[in-house]
Amino acid sequence: MAPLLKVENLRIELATRAGVAPVIDNLNLELGHGESISFVGESGCGKSMTALAIMGLLPEGIGRVASGSIQFDGEELTTASPRRLREIRGNEISMIFQEPMTSLNPVYTVGEQIAEVLRAHQGLSQKAAWKQAIELLNAVQIPNPKSRMESYPFQMSGGQRQRVMIAIALACTPKILIADEPTTALDVTVQAQIFDLLRDLRAQTGTSIIMITHDMGAVAEMSERMIVMYAGRKAEEGPVDQVIARARHPYTHGLISCVPHIVANLTEERQDLTEVPGIVPGLSEFGQDLCLFSSRCPRVTDQCRQARPPEAHFGNSRISACWHAEEL
């Protein structure tokens, strides 16, 4: 079966003061029907940019798709009309954002904000949309949904607001849900609840999910496949359990070593926690013909500094963009 979403050779350029920087450089990925994948990487690696590009919401006048294609269900999105994109957004592809505290409009009730999507895409009447919005609030497990419809966002906690965001995103039973660090702003117990909720809803609706996160725990919990991104490029891709068991890219290895609970059980002798030294290079350094991770890599050789590593394919559709992938 053809993949639901297919991104090919995507290049996104961002206009910065220093010039044009390729914030996404030659990215390929596929998302199957009902599949859940994760984008992993530090801040500034282009995860959110990829998501915004899929939504057609790159910051106007600053970011643009320079080349490559994004195909949704066989339909090219990079050249689609704004009108068609509007039809898809919130209807077939939805997104929830990192910051539930500011992502809801403070001057409208949450009921109105949910009902609005239903009216826009399903042509429901005011009354029917309101009724269905109550059911959605119920589905995202907000107690007493009927009276909560009249609440304003400031009357809700962060977790509840994120639930409302999820209700908005899932209102039209989209084919793809993009969750951009949905739990980063929430405290740990609420994080677990939100993940549970997303998993339950996925099981019920069969929606494909793209999770953007830098939390390896969340990846292991939520997704089948993961894509590790570094400085606008794909570093590694593969099934989550295999990648965690044996990372084929030093960057992935570094990310995994930062997380205690997936490396070892509490009873076992634990490995030392390590960090990945250094920081992600600035945008101006993106796009050079070398391995952008080389400045931080413990295995760096001359070759890494001279040419961009090709994507090496391994069994089980694993990919690693490292000159030394074979040795790892």
């Binding site: 919401l57 509007r86 898809i88 957004r89 919130g90 954002f97 500011t102 992502s103 609005e116 826009a120």
Partner: protein
């Protein structure tokens, strides 16, 4: 209980403040050279010392400063603002006659400035680097820096003298006969230029502020959410962004209201608009102390 307490304290302070304003105004008027006797003498073609003294005695201007102040305060406390020497009418009725014209002008100008200002602000916020945006910035700067009376006279020359679209002065055409609609239309025609003139400063403020506030709102997370919902651009801008962007504009409009009223004095004078401003201006020229004091007292109690 507490709320009541706060209210009474507020009222008490307000009265105290008004009294202070009264005393201060009265003192200043007293210190200013010239009085109504000069004006009367002037209109009679000059008078000798004896007649001047007679006039002053008639109006009680020969009494000592404190006695005059005391009797004035006493009358004001009884809601009597005195009697205009110049217009031969009680000051209170004089003010009430002129008030509607001023209020009409002030409210129209305020609403006009807010509406156009917000529209211009929104337009320029959506394309911050477009030609239209630069044009709006220019208009705003111009309107803000040009003195109102100058703008007024310029508009008069342009639209009343060169191309005679609008009447030169006044509020209504006395020769005009007809029903309510005809007269209302006539007043509107007279209002166009004064309204534009008075609005020009505030228009600039509102358009700059709404532009800034709108740009901030358009970059906010909930506007991104609205876009992600697949709403049309119009819904995103006017339903989700504008309502949030308006709140600083409304706050400013409240604060600016007193400035609009004081701006009205100049504009009314330029266009001979029969409102409080023109009244104040004429009474100052005529040294009509009770009227001036009455207007000052009235406008300070409004605020």
């Amino acid at each position: 209980m507490n709320a009541l307490h706060v209210t009474t304290t507020r009222i008490f302070y307000a009265i105290l403040l008004l009294l202070a304003v009264l005393v201060l105004n009265f003192t200043m008027m007293h210190l200013a050279p010239g009085d109504v006797a000069d004006t009367i003498a002037q209109s009679m073609g000059g008078a000798d010392e004896e007649t001047m003294a007679q006039i002053r005695a008639d109006y009680g201007l020969d009494k000592s400063f404190l006695v005059q102040l005391g009797s004035y305060l006493g009358r004001v406390l009884r809601f009597d603002l005195g009697y205009s020497f110049y217009y031969n009418q009680p000051v209170t009725s004089l003010i009430l006659q002129r008030l509607p014209a001023t209020l009409l002008l002030v409210f129209t100008a305020q609403i006009f400035a807010m509406f156009i200002g917000v529209v211009l602000g929104v337009i320029s916020a959506r394309r911050p680097n477009g030609i239209l945006s630069h044009f709006v910035t220019f208009i705003a700067l111009f309107g803000y820096s040009a003195p109102v009376f100058w703008t007024g006279i310029l508009l008069l020359i342009g639209f009343s003298l060169k191309i005679q679209w609008f009447p030169v002065a006044g509020m209504r055409d006395v020769t005009l006969e007809g029903g309510f609609a005809v007269r209302a239309l006539d007043i509107m025609r007279h209002m166009v230029l004064p309204t534009i003139t008075l609005s020009s400063i505030f228009l600039a403020l509102y358009s700059r502020l709404s532009r800034a506030s709108m740009m901030e709102t358009l970059g906010s997370d909930y506007v991104r959410t609205a876009k992600a919902k697949g709403l049309t651009e119009r819904e995103v801008v006017y339903k989700h962004a504008l309502k949030n962007a308006l709140s600083p504009v409304i706050t400013l409009a409240g604060l600016q209201f007193s400035a609009v009223i004081s701006g009205a004095v100049l504009v009314e004078t330029v266009f001979a608009w029969p409102g409080l401003g023109t009244l104040a201006f004429q009474s100052i020229l005529a040294r009509d102390t009770p009227t001036i004091l009455g207007i000052l007292f009235f406008s300070s109690s409004l605020l």
